[in-house]
């Protein structure tokens, strides 16, 4: 098993993801410069957070045209797990691999804080070990993370079980206060129809060790463990 963390110019959470995969989970992991990425060498790919190309034009817009993304598309078609975190989620959306759009936060500011998430589906490559309805704690850190989709498309992604996580309060309710950026229906994460490509705004790699969490848990690790489980199946 070998995982690629794809480094775009301006990625800045790449080393954090590599740390979790290599040092916490002992998974062979390569940090791959975007121009050198080849789909066939790897079993899974992670697009880390950051500011690819300085977020110029629109977050993720320029990176989505990197030659690496053609390779990522092939990977997605082959059913291999692909995870986009924060800016990686923005890139996957811009590349058309995930439905919807990510708009500037409703407060128009960068927001860095811990949020509460509820798992909406266990059918994806990154949530197969997370029971539906489970509450997870993770931080967000972004300026353009307001998920948006048209009403018809929202209906369709719910029907196809493509909503993966939502922002909720301690009791699991998707309240206004629990929503850090104004995302429609508090949606924090979506997947493709097949469930092998997942994008999310919160940072699981920052919540993968108890010592980093104000809630003293390692909820983020569940996503990476799910990926390992999915690959072993």
């Amino acid at each position: 098993m070998k995982v690629a963390v794809i480094q775009f110019p301006g990625s800045n959470c790449d080393l954090d993801v590599v740390h979790v995969l290599r040092n916490i989970l002992n998974i062979p992991t390569d940090l791959v410069w975007h121009k050198f990425f080849q789909n066939k060498i790897y079993d899974a790919a992670i697009l880390p957070g950051g500011f690819s190309y300085g977020d110029y034009l629109r977050s993720g817009a320029i990176a989505s045209h990197s030659p690496a993304m053609e390779e990522v598309k092939k990977m997605a078609e082959d059913g291999k797990p692909v995870l986009g975190i924060c800016n990686g989620f923005q890139i996957l959306i811009e590349a058309g691999l995930l439905p919807g759009a990510l708009l500037p936060n409703d407060c128009l500011k960068f927001v860095c804080k811990w949020v509460i998430l509820k798992c909406e589906t266990s059918r994806t490559a990154f949530t197969c070990l997370i029971p539906e309805g489970k509450i997870l704690y993770m931080p967000v850190a972004h300026k353009e993370g307001r998920y948006f989709n048209l009403e018809e498309d929202l209906k369709s992604i719910w029907k196809e079980q493509q909503v993966v996580f939502r922002y909720v309060d301690e009791n699991g309710n998707p309240t206004l206060e629990a929503n850090p950026n104004g995302s429609i229906q508090n949606i924090a994460s979506v997947c493709n129809k097949e469930g092998n490509v997942v994008g999310l705004m919160p940072h699981p790699e920052r919540a993968s060790e108890k010592i980093l969490s104000p809630y003293k848990n390692s909820d983020g690790l569940l996503l990476f463990e799910s990926m390992i489980n999915y690959l072993k199946r």
């Binding site: 301006g10 800045n12 740390h19 979790v20 300085g54 960068f110 860095c112 790699e205």
Partner: protein, 681 residues
């Protein structure tokens, strides 16, 4: 007698300095050389007024690897690792153009850390503004925070701590200080010097343009109406290029073919080449025609003085040049080969086949110091004799008011705009504790960091203000279980040509030196920003000597469940903040508080006396043990109350109720002040 020719460019040198320049060179300098002396002998680059005073600070300990004199101080944190850290002011640019002024402040300090070979791992931002009510303050505050956030977030270096102080003296001249810490292996530390003649000089990063020309001489003047015209002297930041530069520089240094590296900041190419050659005792030859530029038709004066951002200079072993250039090409970093290190002992600058400057580097790097006059301000005695106000009656109401004052209120509005988690090191985050704690993944230890200053104390008593800043900073890292190892200071003062201002500076540094010796914490670097004064009102900022500290945590557990030092707002505020953060009630008997003499109730509650810490622990046995330890060390201590599982904040004195507040109500006031003042509804 031969009359000197008029100087062809505008210089801010004194007549005495002008004479010295002519004497040193033994001839009439070229216009390029005048510009180079002008910038290198400016207060900002040369520390000509402050150097004699700063010498009083103790600078060594077994843990100090590199002390003052280089780009950043470097301290041993064990297991083969070291921390490089430095603070800088970006006050003048931020007061004119808050967004880019603050952003490029971050850019500059990050390059300084990078130049030691360290990966930047955290930022701290001590900020000072005028009264929060004014439009100017709101504008400055909003855009300084946005500038820091946009830049720091993009380059992936977490902003984990800071300070925000509001006081009318900062209305025109806000203070924007920025500190960066980096992590480096002890055997991979780089020093900014040219040691090897024959090395090729490669200028990398941003293209050189006309921006920032004379940024340094601008920082050595007071702010006036004309300063608006200085706007081109404020540089524009490019965090995306900076992020690439960070990765490229770290990878280039790994090749083993780089012998020297330094950033281009204040003073541009002039400062970098002259300082590196002066330190290494070598010479430099630069061909200006080779620079990659942003604008056509720049003359050598502009090229040597430009402060365009995101640039660094490498001295590369010719054998490894192609390997180094290969890394730069991978990251698509623009570069130009601009010259070489020589053994000529001269900084020679060529342009269009002509020598436009030829100066021994140490003439530029070692500016003559100035002995300034110091005089105690006349009004100080009067201020000390001000009559105490009448003792107030309703202390609960006062406490509610105090938690809502901008200086004490919650700063979540600020730090939520900073990515403080990137890097997966931040264990104690902004707002959690007295200091931020970041783990060193490589060694299993952790560092604690904090910046402190109380400008009001310093104004009334600069000596104790300077001493107090270090006392408070060390207390803050101690409160999270760290041992203070070293500090760096950022001195923000008015016009040093005024004896009263220089006295404040002198006394402040003397106080700092005193505390530094007493606590045995060395100073490893610093920054001085003078001329923070409104040109019209002639009012200088309150003297602000900011201490930025590094502590080391060897072991992450202890007896104590929470610890908080008493600082702004004194004991009552310290207790209130602990209750708010813990979402628990507090019951304290004030008659149990150790005091040196009987004092009034308002003094007992709100005195800002130093060296006081409130501890909480889970069992009576632990509490007894803590008192025993304190007793053994000769520190006055007492059991004063307990944490309760309710919403009541109750302070009594011998059974008499003094304060009775609701914790949730205090929390609401504490949290809403800053967003209320800034948010558009």
């Amino acid at each position: 007698m031969v009359k000197n020719k008029p100087i062809p460019v505008k210089v801010n040198l004194t007549p005495k300095e002008i004479r010295m320049v002519r004497k040193l060179l033994g001839r009439e300098p070229t216009y390029v050389e005048w510009g180079m002396f002008d910038i290198m002998w400016s207060e900002h680059c040369s520390y000509k007024s402050s150097k004699p005073i700063l010498k009083k600070l103790p600078t060594s300990s077994p843990k100090v690897l590199v002390g003052p004199g280089y780009d950043s101080g470097i301290v041993d944190v064990g297991d083969g690792m070291a921390v490089a850290f430095k603070v800088e002011s970006h006050n003048h640019p931020s007061a004119i153009e808050p967004y880019n002024g603050a952003a490029t402040g971050i850019g500059g300090i990050v390059r300084d850390i990078l130049a030691t070979g360290a990966r930047p791992i955290l930022l701290i931002d001590p900020l000072r503004f005028g009264k929060l009510e004014t439009g100017r303050t709101k504008w400055l505050f909003r855009y300084v925070v946005k500038g820091i956030g946009d830049y720091g977030n993009c380059i992936g270096v977490p902003t984990v701590a800071g300070e925000v102080e509001f006081d009318e003296s900062f209305e025109t001249n806000c203070l924007v200080n920025v500190a960066c810490y980096g992590l480096v292996r002890k055997d991979k530390i780089f020093l900014a010097r040219f040691d090897k003649p024959g090395d090729i000089l490669v200028l990398i990063g941003g293209a050189t343009g006309r921006d920032g020309i004379h940024g340094v001489t601008f920082a050595s003047k007071t702010i006036s109406e004309e300063s608006e015209e200085d706007r081109p002297a404020v540089q524009i930041g490019d965090p995306f290029t900076k992020k690439l530069l960070i990765e490229a520089v770290l990878e280039v240094l790994e090749t083993g073919y780089v012998d020297g590296v330094k950033d281009l900041g204040g003073g541009g190419l002039t400062c970098t080449t002259s300082e590196m050659a002066a330190k290494g005792g070598t010479g430099v030859e630069i061909i200006l025609d080779n620079l990659h530029v942003r604008e056509e038709g720049m003359n050598p004066y502009e090229l040597m003085l430009s402060e365009s951002q995101e640039r660094m200079l490498l001295a590369v072993n010719p054998e490894g040049l192609s390997k180094v250039l290969g890394v730069l090409e991978k990251y698509e970093i623009p570069y130009s080969i601009i010259g070489k290190v020589t053994d000529s002992g001269k900084l020679i600058v060529k342009f269009k086949d002509e020598i436009v400057a030829s100066i021994p580097p140490k003439y530029l790097a070692e500016a003559p110091t100035i002995k300034r006059k110091a005089k105690k301000p006349l009004n100080l005695e009067k201020l000390w004799r001000i009559k105490k106000p009448k003792e107030p009656k309703n202390f609960s109401e006062i406490l509610y008011k105090l938690v809502s004052t901008p200086n004490i209120a919650c700063k979540e509005w600020v730090y939520q705009q900073y990515d403080h988690e990137v890097g997966v090191r931040t264990i104690l985050k902004p707002g959690d504790s007295d200091a931020a704690v970041l783990r060193i993944i490589e060694t299993g230890k952790a560092i604690a960091v904090k910046a402190d200053c109380n400008s009001r104390h310093s104004y009334l008593d600069p000596f104790n203000g300077g001493a107090g800043a270090l006392a408070e900073a060390s207390r803050n890292v101690v409160c999270v279980g760290a041992e203070p190892l070293a500090y760096t200071d950022c001195c923000n003062f008015g016009n040093p040509e005024k004896p009263e201002v220089f006295w404040q500076f002198k006394r402040g540094v003397e106080g700092l030196a005193y505390m530094s010796r007493k606590l045995r914490i060395p100073c490893v670097g610093g920054n001085v920003s003078f001329y923070n004064e409104d040109s019209e009102s002639k009012i200088a900022v309150k003297p602000s000597l900011v201490v930025v500290i590094l502590g080391l945590i060897e072991n992450l557990d202890g007896l104590v469940t929470a610890a908080h030092d008493c600082s702004k707002g004194g004991l009552a505020i310290a207790l209130a903040l602990m209750a708010i953060k813990g979402k628990l009630g507090v019951k304290v008997d004030l008659s149990k508080i150790p005091t040196s003499k009987p004092i009034r109730m308002d003094e007992l509650l709100f005195s800002e006396s130093h060296s006081r810490i409130i501890l909480t622990t889970s069992t009576k046995e632990n509490a007894k043990q803590i008192l025993k330890i304190a007793n053994k060390k000769g520190a006055p201590a007492n059991l004063v109350g307990k944490v309760t599982d309710d919403d009541n904040f109750t302070l009594t004195f011998d059974g008499r109720k003094i304060v009775e507040c609701s914790v949730t109500q205090m929390e609401r006031f504490w949290k809403e002040t800053i967003p209320k003042a800034l948010e558009v509804r």
